[in-house]
């Protein structure tokens, strides 16, 4: 298991290196720069600014010094938030976005696994079609539509929950979490249904039934463990995706999270901020993919022993 983990982390190095390099050169190809505003800046001031942020050096020199700083944990100063380091900006928004993503993932898992199981128990019946159609709608329905719609119904219409904010009023975390988790709930439902259908056709489920076990034991104890493996493998990419995709939800509900940095940085040509967020996200994707693979491996006794027997 340890060897497997180390191998995977080593594999991540060329991935991250490629991501950084491509991003670094690509953003500089985009027209405009960090100091091109609507009101033209005096050339002397612009030159001074560029010198301050090392933008007057040859691009390859900038690339090398960026890497040098990165190894020291320094992602550079933000161009648009003077006085802030990129890593500090990311860290300021991260706890809120992480909490939002976590709740959204919970929503996705609870709704998705339940719906998937219900559908798999009676395939090709209304019990299957209804949750799966809802799941399809959930995947197609854009967040920027679902969010306001939920606000309209549950916030203004029924007056059940606050319509915006984060942590200020009781219950203000409910709507954002549901809005962000809905699409993922739909994916989880489809994965769970597929996994469960496959497992429920296995011979060992027939054995469990032949032993006269109650149906809930057959489902929860014998089927779910194998049936959830595809879902578990999806958790990593899902969590990374939730962290990265929170921008729309954060905007709708006015949540001071991480999402706005990604988008604003791109609009502002805030080079260091773009690079910082990209590196941060890529690392998250690599790490969470690894975690979900480890979890999926651990769930399968055969693989678990194979890896622990094979060199950890």
């Amino acid at each position: 298991m340890i060897r497997f983990t180390i191998m995977r982390l080593l594999q991540a190095i060329p991935v991250l290196f490629t991501v950084i390099t491509v991003t670094f050169f690509l953003i500089r190809q985009a027209p405009g720069g960090p100091f091109d505003a609507e009101k033209p800046v005096i050339p002397a001031v612009k030159r001074a600014l560029e010198a301050k942020y090392n933008l007057d050096q040859p691009i390859f020199q900038q690339y090398l010094s960026y890497f040098g700083d990165l190894f020291k944990g320094d992602m550079g100063p933000s161009f648009k938030y003077p006085g802030w380091q990129v890593e500090d900006l990311i860290m300021s928004g991260l706890p809120i976005t992480a909490e939002l993503a976590f709740y959204a993932l919970l929503v996705a898992l609870v709704i998705g696994v339940l719906a998937g199981c219900v559908a798999a128990l009676k395939p090709n019946s209304p019990q299957d079609y209804i949750p799966m159609s809802l799941a399809m709608i959930g995947i197609c329905f854009p967040t920027f539509l679902l969010g306001p719609l939920l606000v309209l119904i549950f916030g203004f219409g029924l007056n059940l929950v606050p319509v915006s904010g984060w942590g200020d009023l009781p219950g203000d975390k409910i709507l954002p979490s549901i809005t962000l988790g809905a699409a993922y709930a739909a994916y989880v439902a489809r994965l769970t249904r597929g996994g469960m259908l496959e497992v429920l056709n296995q011979d060992y489920i027939r054995t469990a039934r032949a032993k006269g076990l109650p149906e809930w034991v057959v489902i929860c104890k014998h089927a779910l463990r194998g049936g959830l493996i595809p879902t578990v493998s999806f958790l990593g990419p899902a969590f990374a995706g939730l962290l990265a995709g929170s921008f729309v939800v954060e905007t709708i509900f006015q949540i001071p999270g991480l999402g706005r940095f990604y988008v604003q940085a791109a609009f502002n040509r805030d080079y260091t901020m773009i690079l910082g967020t990209t590196i941060f996200l890529s690392t998250l994707i690599v790490v969470f993919n690894l975690l979900s693979d480890l979890l999926a491996t651990w769930l399968n006794p055969r693989l678990r022993q194979q890896y622990s027997g094979g060199g950890s």
Binding site: A208, L213, R225, Q305
Partner: protein, 526 residues
């Protein structure tokens, strides 16, 4: 006094392609302490009739249309799901065909063993564990205490079936339904499991329904036999009468289809040596340990011109790997394979191409070895065109000739594999193998997946083709009766090494090797 009395059971499946009557007006009964054998070919409804009794068929599409099944006076078919659940695994227990897939790979053996005790009897885990270990010992699982927390994949096939049996017996059922419990096992293991079932049955005075396609096994074990065909019972009687004096033509056909005794086809062997294998070793990486192991270990033998050489051994003995190594379908680690004096090892794919035309293979499973998206015509035409045996102009005639050769209707040439039965598919696979007019064929368990009556037809086809096309054949099989009826010489393999090689009949009458004798003793002949 019968413990189970089934009358007029009819089960239908309402599928998209219409209604299938899987069980058609079936009646039988089992007495206390009796072993009832139910025999029949695949699709005869022998398993479905037993699954219907316990509500284990998927409903829908399945539906029990009519019938009464009195178990100790109570009608199983009229019970609610919860009443039936109380019977399943308690009064009536089941064991299944494939112990590899019938145990949950995610749960420990112990956990699965104690479940019936916990959910039916409400027994505490500690007491249940003690009882489970007792039964594991009784069913011959060594070091039961230590292996209680092991997972299924840590057990061999035979051991897993012992676990299944222990699990079935843990609540001391009155009736045990055994669905092909030894079909997936090697003959020597099969013998042990059968002895175990017979022994436990006697000790507990258990009623057993033993479902099997293997008439030899059923004759050996059962007191009475029900013969089924296409959902109907064609004959039932005490075992002696079924086998000595069958009343129904189908029973007679089944009995006739089983190869028994000596080689039936002509010995066509020439003096020349076609294949010379020496020091052949093929290694694979063991996925569990990551270390290489020798699937074939320093094996040397010759195959004469027009000979049928039988290759027998249990699973994992390396018999398929030898066949594939000769054909260069896997790469041997060392040794030499001479085909008409020409070395095959170390040749490039391009150099091998003309030789591939002359060496072909027939695979075990005709369901998996044919490309489902290719018509019979495409399947047969591909090797002909690839090896330039036929041209675009002559291909039609060649393909139709092949269809005649393997006994398929010419009109079926545009059909896809799924439109054929298993036997017909194997005919297609054989047609593909002989298309390029090869000299040498490796037949890897070509009849193992087929029912006995079909098996007989395919064996006859193989014998005819061998004679007609001057074929030399390596016939890989775990079925010793088939090998005896077909092969000139036999090679016995164990752990990748040759135990013995010799003339078929002299091996049968006077083998000196323990392992060969053990293999032969394990076969239940009629």
């Amino acid at each position: 006094m019968s413990i189970l009395d089934v009358k007029n059971l009819t089960t239908r499946f309402h599928t998209r392609n219409g209604v299938v009557t899987a069980v058609d007006d079936v009646s039988f009964s089992v007495d206390k302490g009796e072993i009832l054998g139910i025999v029949g070919e695949s699709g005869s409804g022998k398993s479905v009739s037993c699954y219907s009794l316990l509500g284990l068929i998927p409903m829908p599409p399945g539906n029990i249309e009519s019938g009464v099944a009195l178990f100790e006076g109570r009608d199983l078919l009229a019970m609610s799901e919860s009443e039936l659940r109380a019977v399943r695994g308690d009064d009536i227990a089941m064991i299944f065909q494939d112990p590899m897939t019938s145990l949950n790979p995610f749960l420990t053996i112990g956990e699965q063993l104690i479940e019936p005790l916990i959910y039916h009897r409400g027994i505490k885990r500690a007491a249940a564990k003690a009882r489970a270990i007792e039964l594991m010992e009784e069913t011959g699982i060594v070091n039961a205490q230590g292996r209680f927390n092991a997972y299924p994949h840590e057990f061999s096939g035979g051991m897993r079936q012992r676990v299944m049996i222990a699990m079935a017996l843990i609540n001391e059922p009155k009736l045990l339904i055994a669905d092909e419990p030894t079909t997936a096992l090697d003959v020597t293991i099969q013998k042990q499991i059968l002895e175990l079932i017979a022994d436990l049955q006697k000790r507990r005075d258990l009623a057993v329904i033993f479902i099997s396609h293997d008439l030899g096994v059923v004759r050996h074990l059962a007191d009475r036999v029900v013969v089924m065909k296409e959902g109907k019972v064609v004959e039932q009687n005490v075992t002696e009468s079924i086998f000595e004096n069958p009343q129904d033509q189908y029973t007679q056909d089944l009995l006739d289809a089983i190869p028994s005794g000596e080689k039936v086809n002509e010995d066509l062997r020439g003096d020349e040596i076609l294949i010379e294998v020496s020091g052949l070793t093929t290694e694979f990486l063991d996925r569990n340990t990551g270390k290489p192991f020798k699937a074939v270990d320093d094996v040397s033998f010759n195959i004469q011109h027009n000979e049928i050489l039988g290759l027998v051994g249990e699973s994992g003995s390396g018999k398929s790997t030898i066949g594939r190594s000769i054909l260069q379908l896997v790469e041997p680690s060392s040794g030499s394979v001479l085909f008409r004096g020409e070395e095959l090892l170390g040749q490039s794919a391009k150099q091998l191409k003309p030789i591939r035309r002359r060496m072909q293979m027939i695979f075990q499973d005709p369901y998996a070895s044919l490309n489902p998206r290719m018509t019979v015509y495409d399947t047969l035409a591909e090797p002909l065109l690839y090896h330039n045996v036929a041209t675009r102009g002559t291909i039609d005639a060649h393909v139709l000739e092949l269809m005649d050769d393997v006994g398929l209707a010419r009109s079926a040439v545009k059909k896809y594999p799924h439109e054929f039965s298993g036997g017909q598919r194997q005919r297609i696979a054989i047609g593909r193998a002989i298309a390029t007019k090869p000299e040498f064929i490796v037949a890897d368990e070509p009849v193992s997946a087929l029912d006995v009556t079909i098996q007989k037809q395919i064996l006859e086809l193989i014998m005819n083709l061998v004679a007609k096309h001057n074929l030399t054949m390596l016939f890989v099989s775990h079925d010793l009766s088939v090998v005896r009826s077909l092969c000139d010489r036999v090679l016995v393999l164990q752990y990748g090494k040759i135990v013995e090689i010799g003339e078929t009949e002299s091996l049968w009458s006077s083998s000196k090797e323990d392992y060969t004798q053990k293999l032969m003793a394990a076969v239940h002949t009629l």
